[in-house]
Symmetry: C2
Subunit: 139 residues, 2 copies
C-alpha cells in the first residue's frame, strides 16, 4: 500500500473518499481577478471542463477589491479567493469519486487567469478502511 | 522568521494572507450528519462563534445520503461534506485577516457533531512578500 492506494490483482482499491488540491496562483491578470462575472464564469467553466456536475454557486465581490466564490458540485466543491492587488488567487478543488479529475480544473484555471506561476498540493481526504471501494484499472 | 511569521520590535509581521485548517471528523453522530437543517445551522453557528461575518450560504442534501455545504464569510469560507454512513465529515475553514480564529470554528463543530476523533492540519495560504502587513502584538 502506498499513500492509501492498494493494488489488488487488476483492481485499484481506493482508501480515501476525496481528493483535494490546494492551489496558489501568482502573477495573474489583475483585472480578471477583480471581475466578478469573469471569475464566476471561469470557476463554473473549470468545474464543467473537469466533467463535474454543478449544483449551485455563490460569488461575492468585496470592497475595495477581491472576490470570493464557491461552486458546489455533485462531487464536492471548488472555491476561490482573489487578491487582485497582488495578482494572487487561492483556489481549492475538492472532488470525490473517480469521474472528475481535479487537475483538469487546475489547468483550465491556470490558463484563464494567466498565472505566471503557481504552487500546488494534493491531499487525500477521508482516509478510511473501505475494502469495498474498488475501481478497475487499465493495468 | 518562523513559518512565515516575523517579529519586528513589538510588531508581528504577517507574511501570509490566509489560514486554512483542514479537518477530518471521525465517529460523528450519523443522524446529525444527514440532517440538512442541523448541518446548516451548525456550520453557520461555527462561523458566528469564531466571530466571522456570514455573507452567504449554500447547503445540499444528496441521495441516498450526505450533505455538502458552504458558508461564505467576509473572511473567506467554511465548507463541509458529510458521509453519514461512515460517521465522517470533511471540513475546511479558510480565514483571512486576524480577527477570526479558525480553531474556534473547529472546537464548535467537534462538539456539535460529537466526533469521537479527528485529524487536523493548518496551512498558510498566500505566502507573499508583504512587508506592510503588520499587526500589533501584546508583547
Amino acid at each position: 500500500m502506498i499513500n492509501g492506494i492498494k493494488f489488488v490483482g487488476g483492481e485499484l482499491e481506493l482508501k480515501n473518499l476525496g481528493r483535494h488540491i490546494l492551489v496558489e496562483f501568482y502573477g495573474c491578470n489583475k483585472s480578471k481577478l477583480d471581475d466578478l462575472k469573469f471569475v464566476e464564469r471561469t470557476m463554473v467553466g473549470a468545474a464543467e471542463y473537469s466533467k463535474a456536475t454543478v449544483v449551485d454557486e455563490v460569488f461575492h465581490k468585496f470592497n475595495p477589491h477581491g472576490i470570493s466564490g464557491v461552486v458546489v458540485i455533485q462531487e464536492s466543491h471548488l472555491t476561490i479567493h482573489t487578491w487582485p492587488e497582488y495578482g494572487y488567487a487561492a483556489v481549492d478543488v475538492f472532488t470525490c469519486g473517480h469521474t472528475v479529475d481535479p487537475w483538469d480544473a487546475f489547468f483550465y484555471l491556470n490558463r484563464e487567469f494567466e498565472a505566471e506561476s503557481n504552487t500546488t498540493m494534493e491531499l487525500k481526504r477521508g482516509l478510511l478502511d473501505l475494502p469495498n471501494l474498488k475501481v478497475k484499472t487499465t493495468a
